[in-house]
């Protein structure tokens, strides 16, 4: 909303000339001033406007050396004739014009000086509308009313300079899309009065009745609670007065003709859009407010042919659509230069309907942006009064007796009245406000407030009837003009302190450990391309898909993080970074089964969301020296990262072959990750080279995926102390021959179980294939470490345990002891 400050000051005369403080207070109280623009002549009401005068061309001669220039002698009432060289085609002796004398500064910053134009002296300039930033018209001089007194300061004819406040109006305040609403705000913010504008209408002077000119039929009463119409005759269509043009231009609207300009002016003033029809063009002299017919065509004022449907409300005549209600008119019923008889509409339309139609048609106008916020049904009569009087005074029109006023059969919505507890303002705002101050603030805003024994009887003005409906809304009205007075006080928090949950602490631990292990954290989108979930083997019904994606690559919710991480690798490779070691703790999403089923906290869930730790590595993992290479990412390295991460959380990770590896992993380099108790925590492995290549990554890529909730569940916090032995360990190495199908990890597990209490640890230190081991078998070397808590073990004791282990391995895997 653009507010010409001179207009605002006309309604609120007590405002200071400088808008800075007004803007600050408006911003604080909810009418945010985004910018203050200087337009037209700077400092026009003081020194800046002194050089701008009303003048009359007394004499006019052809310039001796230039065909297109004329030499004028201009009278500005100071007793001498000023010679001004002029190139405008419409300059003529006897015309009243706008003159700027040497020393004046134009709106564009140009300073007027005495000059010679093609050898002829020129002292000043006569101006076009564009040069004064009134309009874009530069076809000729701006010709002024001949009744104006010569020498009048131009600023007294219309405001030649102004400030325009650019306001951000929040969705709850359609009333502030009109000057009157803003004026109430400014008056309350500055604690000054408004001029009285209430009884603004005109008496009919024409004969007959409005029904002689138009009849109105509202079919869609649900979408049009009120429709008012008046008729005017003897209308003279022409240019608007300069003050009107100036304010319209500064409010961001183009001057069309005096009729349209008046409807726009009244809309800017009241916030209530109006529409003027040429009564002679209304077929059947009839207005029908109805839903559009299926595929009904209309050519709107912007010269676009559009097709409407029954969702759209239209104003039609007896035959076809004349206006898309509240949005834009059709070309064929508009007011033109030859119009003499008009029908003026002031109506209320359903905001949601206007909003929907406007969006569907891709058509927004000053009118629709107001209607869509939901205007009150009392504004039409106010706006009708203003417009009627202006049409009579400016266009010479005569008002036809009678006003058509079709109202919803349910009656018009009533402005709310209610009681507000006297304690409520201080209970919510934390300050005490005197009764007199409460009354003053509310009165300035147009509210009625009567103090009773226990509280206030509140009456809400029509313009605010949908925004202020409850006592708490009145509290806001009081609070918003007092924000600076409200003290800063911390609440006395009585919850006994806060601490992160165990899952939140686990997350931080894993984040820190991952970073410490050389992994860089990334944050990737939760939305992925269509079909990603199914390509990863998820049944279609488990994937959460968007009904209305915006972009093709953000169509469904991710079920895994590594596809996004491959994209990170691709992007970094493209940027010349070949070593990519990354991790992310992020969310995965599956359809809830069923929707609304209860989560662990007892509240409903609309999808199954799980946080996972994913990591992805390719290239070097670090450890490089300037002369030596570092550790290259491979399966043992990524599994080692997982083991280290889990070790940091107190989990002893186990890796086992994945029974049915999915298509997107290297079938021979993938493992499931388990805790010591067998709980599955996730997987780790090499990404299938084909899958990586499809993602644009031409390198060996390794990844892991661990479920945060599973990790948390596998941990026992606050473990009890376990005593360790003071006696030395005894180490023994054994080598066993096994079938190649036997997994080394299982051998270790079985050995560990068979070894019992005296076996401290088992580790693999060699795996050998070849002569003399037969084909299909291999030798695995294990180091067994024995230790007792209370003594040094004897050879006999360790031999016995070793024998048990060897027997168990023989029985379970057919292992043979070597040598």
């Amino acid at each position: 909303m653009k507010v010409p400050y001179s207009w605002l000051r006309e309604i609120v005369p007590g405002l200071p000339a400088d808008p800075t403080e007004v803007a600050r207070r408006l911003s604080d109280s909810g009418t945010y001033v985004e910018a203050i623009h200087q337009v037209g002549v700077a400092d026009a009401s003081n020194g800046g406007g002194a050089a701008f005068k009303v003048g009359v061309v007394r004499e006019l001669e052809q310039h001796p050396d230039a065909d297109k220039l004329k030499v004028a002698k201009v009278d500005i009432g100071d007793g001498e004739l000023h010679q001004i060289v002029c190139g405008a085609p419409n300059v003529a002796a006897g015309e009243t014009v706008a003159v700027v004398l040497p020393g004046g500064t134009m709106p564009d910053g140009m300073r007027i000086k005495e000059a010679k134009l093609r050898g002829v002296e020129s002292r000043g300039m006569m101006m076009s509308e564009r040069e004064l930033q009134l309009s874009t018209d530069h076809s000729g001089l701006m010709l002024l009313d001949k009744d104006l007194e010569i020498g009048t300061p131009l600023n007294d004819v219309f405001p030649i300079g102004d400030h325009v406040l650019e306001l951000e109006i929040t969705g709850n305040r359609p009333d502030c899309l009109g000057m009157l609403g803003v004026a109430l705000e400014a008056g309350a913010a500055m604690d000054v009065d408004l001029i009285d504008m209430s009884p603004f209408d005109v008496d009919p002077t024409a004969t007959g009745d409005v029904s002689d000119h138009v009849t109105v039929e509202v079919e869609a009463t649900d979408l049009c609670p009120r429709y008012m119409a008046r008729a005017f005759v003897d209308v003279t269509v022409g240019q608007s007065p300069l003050w009107l043009k100036a304010w319209l231009a500064r409010a961001g609207m183009r001057s069309i003709n005096n009729i349209v300009d008046i409807t726009n002016y009244v809309m800017l003033l009241t916030g209530q859009p109006l529409h003027a029809f040429d009564a002679d063009k209304l077929r059947g002299s009839k207005i029908v407010v109805r839903r559009a017919r299926e595929d009904e065509p209309v050519t709107t004022l912007d010269d676009v042919e559009r097709t409407l449907g029954p969702d759209t409300l239209v104003i039609a005549d007896a035959e076809q659509t004349a206006v898309i209600a509240g949005i834009m008119g059709a070309a064929d019923v508009e007011v033109t230069a030859t119009t003499t008889r008009i029908v003026l509409e002031a109506a209320t339309f359903d905001g949601h309907s206007i909003q929907r139609s406007s969006r569907e048609l891709g058509l927004r106008s000053e009118s629709s942006s107001r209607f869509e916020k939901g205007l009150d049904p009392y504004s039409p009569s106010v706006a009708m009064g203003f417009a009627s009087r202006m049409l009579v005074e400016i266009c010479g029109a005569s008002l036809v007796p009678g006003t058509i006023d079709v109202q919803s059969p349910d009656g018009l919505d009533q402005a709310p009245t209610f009681e507000m507890d006297a304690e409520l303002p201080s209970r919510i705002l934390g300050i005490d406000i005197d009764d007199a101050d409460i009354q003053q603030t509310l009165a300035r805003l147009g509210f009625g407030a009567i103090r009773g024994a226990r509280g206030w009887a509140i009456t809400v003005p029509h313009a605010r009837m949908y925004d202020v409906t409850r006592p708490i809304d009145v509290v806001e009205e009081l609070g918003r003009f007092r924000l600076e007075q409200i003290p800063s006080e911390l609440p006395p928090i009585r919850t006994g302190g806060a601490v992160l949950t165990r899952l939140q602490r686990l997350r931080r631990l894993l984040e820190d450990t991952s970073a410490g292990l050389g992994l860089n954290e990334v944050v990737t989108y939760g939305l992925v391309g269509p079909g990603t979930g199914e390509a990863l083997g998820n049944p279609e019904e488990t994937v959460v898909r968007l009904a209305n994606p915006m972009t093709v690559d953000h169509a469904e919710m991710r079920t895994a993080l590594f596809p996004g991480h491959l994209e990170v690798a691709r992007r970094n490779h493209a940027a010349g970074t070949s070593d990519v070691a990354i991790f992310e703790i992020g969310r995965t999403y599956y359809a809830a089964d069923p929707v609304g089923s209860t989560g662990a906290d007892g509240l409903p869930r609309y999808s199954a969301e799980r946080d996972v730790l994913a990591l992805l590595v390719t290239g070097s993992l670090g450890g490089a020296r300037w002369d030596l290479p570092g550790l290259t990412a491979d399966y043992p390295a990524v599994a080692g990262l997982v083991a280290s991460l889990l070790a940091a959380t107190g989990i002893d990770a186990r890796f086992g072959a994945l029974p049915n590896p999915p298509a997107w992993v290297h079938p021979g380099q993938v493992a499931d990750v388990r805790a010591a108790n067998g709980a599955v925590l996730g997987w780790v492995g090499a990404i299938h080279p084909r899958f990586a290549a499809q993602a644009g990554v031409d390198a060996d890529v390794f990844a892991a995926h661990l479920d945060l909730h599973a990790i948390d569940a596998a941990r026992t916090l606050q473990p009890r102390f376990t005593a360790y032995s003071e006696f030395p360990p005894v180490m023994e190495d054994i080598a066993i021959v096994l079938d190649d199908a036997v997994a080394g990890g299982e051998v270790v597990t079985v050995a560990r179980e068979a070894g019992g209490a005296l076996l401290e640890s088992v580790s693999v230190f060699d795996r050998y294939v070849g002569d003399p081991i037969p084909a299909g078998r291999h030798s695995l070397a294990l180091r067994l470490t024995f230790r007792a808590p209370d003594r040094t073990l004897t050879d006999e004791e360790t031999a016995a345990v070793r024998g048990t282990i060897v027997d168990a391995l023989a029985q379970r895997f057919g292992a043979e002891l070597r040598g």
């Binding site: 609070g479 911390l490 609440p491 601490v499 860089n520 919710m557 609309y606």
Partner: protein, 369 residues
């Protein structure tokens, strides 16, 4: 047996030991003279074979000589070993200015660092950190947040709906959405905990915005909610001030401006005085170096930074959850953009950088939120 000249043997041995210039030579000489086949050692070993009258003098002389020689060998060893160590250290000198071995070291993403900063401020003030789902229904997303049917956000043009659950989108409490704000967590927190309630919730939100330098279809917010007996707008003001002082600096002014949100009444926006220019709007040395001579680039010359929306919890929101009564408790809530805080504090030009994860971006903020 010939005359036994212990002195001669000792002299010869001493000369050998003293002639050795390396530890290895010394060790060889020591073995030669003092090893089990050394002449004096052999003499002493076979002393019983000597005539009785010689045993005393030879034994005594031999032992004295051997002790002296061993002492000599020991001191020579120490001198030679020390010299050799000194030599080796000189040889081992390296160019310590060459790059060190690149031991693995990663970093936390800027968003995680920023999130923790915010969480920790509120933990210190006594607010628990809670989690909440991102897929919600319209009741949690809109209705219970006092956002009526017809509100612009409550529409498939602005909000992502879930396929198969979008019937009646915009006017159906059961339609499913990706939440557009972390305020959904307010309701879940209220459902789980009766007053007093002091919580924050950092999380992801989604909006159907065109992606550009300052907009994304996904971003991060942190919601704060306090509900208790007797909470006022003054408490909200104090909390915002305290929070922003910890985040941006103690001396900065904070101002509240009236705004509109459906789920708070009264509603405000909070501005903090620009931490870069201190509220003057003037360009910093960095701004000037980057070619901005007119105005501070952080606040665009305005002196203030719009930082968050806030307000007193609307009675309708309290009324949406059993056990909350607007007549006995009141509360405040606010939401702040984590991505925006990160952008403001670190001055990177494009929101998308956060999600592109160029490692040159990720690594440059290591350990310094």
């Amino acid at each position: 047996m010939a005359d036994i000249d212990i002195d001669a043997l000792a002299r010869e041995a001493r000369a050998d030991l003293e002639a050795a210039t390396t530890v290895a030579d010394l060790d060889a000489a020591k073995i030669r003279h003092l090893g089990k086949n050394g002449p004096i050692v052999l003499l002493l070993r076979d002393i019983k074979d000597l005539p009785p009258e010689q045993r005393g003098p030879v034994g005594k002389g031999g032992n004295v000589a051997r002790k002296e020689l061993e002492a000599l060998a020991a001191s020579r060893h120490e001198a030679l070993a020390s010299a050799e160590l000194d030599r080796r250290l000189i040889e081992d000198a390296i160019d310590v200015s060459l790059p060190p071995r690149a031991m693995p070291q990663g970093t936390l993403h800027l968003l995680t660092q920023t999130r923790r900063l915010l969480e920790d401020i509120f933990l210190g003030m006594g607010y628990d950190v809670i989690d909440a789902p991102e897929v919600e229904n319209e009741w949690y997303g809109f209705t219970a947040l006092n956002t009526p049917v017809g509100h612009p956000a409550r529409n498939p043009t602005d909000t992502f709906y879930i396929a198969g659950h979008d019937q009646g989108a915009g006017a159906n409490d059961d339609a499913l959405i990706l939440r557009t704000q972390t305020s959904t967590a307010q309701l879940r927190a209220m459902q789980l905990t009766k007053p007093p309630l002091y919580v924050v919730h950092p999380g992801r939100v989604y909006r159907r915005d065109d992606i550009d330098a300052t907009h994304s279809d996904m971003f991060h917010q942190m919601e704060a909610l306090a509900i208790d007996e007797g909470l006022t707008l003054a408490n909200l003001k104090g909390t915002i001030e305290s929070f922003l002082h910890r985040l941006f600096g103690d001396d900065l002014q904070v101002r509240l401006r009236t705004h509109f949100f459906p789920f708070t009444e009264p509603s405000v926006e909070a501005d903090v005085q620009c931490f870069s220019c201190g509220g003057t709007g003037d360009p910093s040395a960095d701004d000037r170096a980057s070619g901005d001579f007119d105005r501070c680039r952080v606040c665009r010359g305005e002196g203030w930074i719009e930082i968050m929306g806030a307000g007193m919890v609307d009675p309708n929101v309290l009324g949406a959850v059993d056990g909350y009564d607007a007549d006995t408790v009141s509360g405040f809530a606010f939401g702040i953009g984590i991505d925006r805080v990160a952008m403001l504090r670190h001055g990177f030009p494009d929101l998308r950088m956060l999600f592109q994860n160029d490692l040159r971006f990720v690594r440059q903020f290591a350990g310094r939120p």
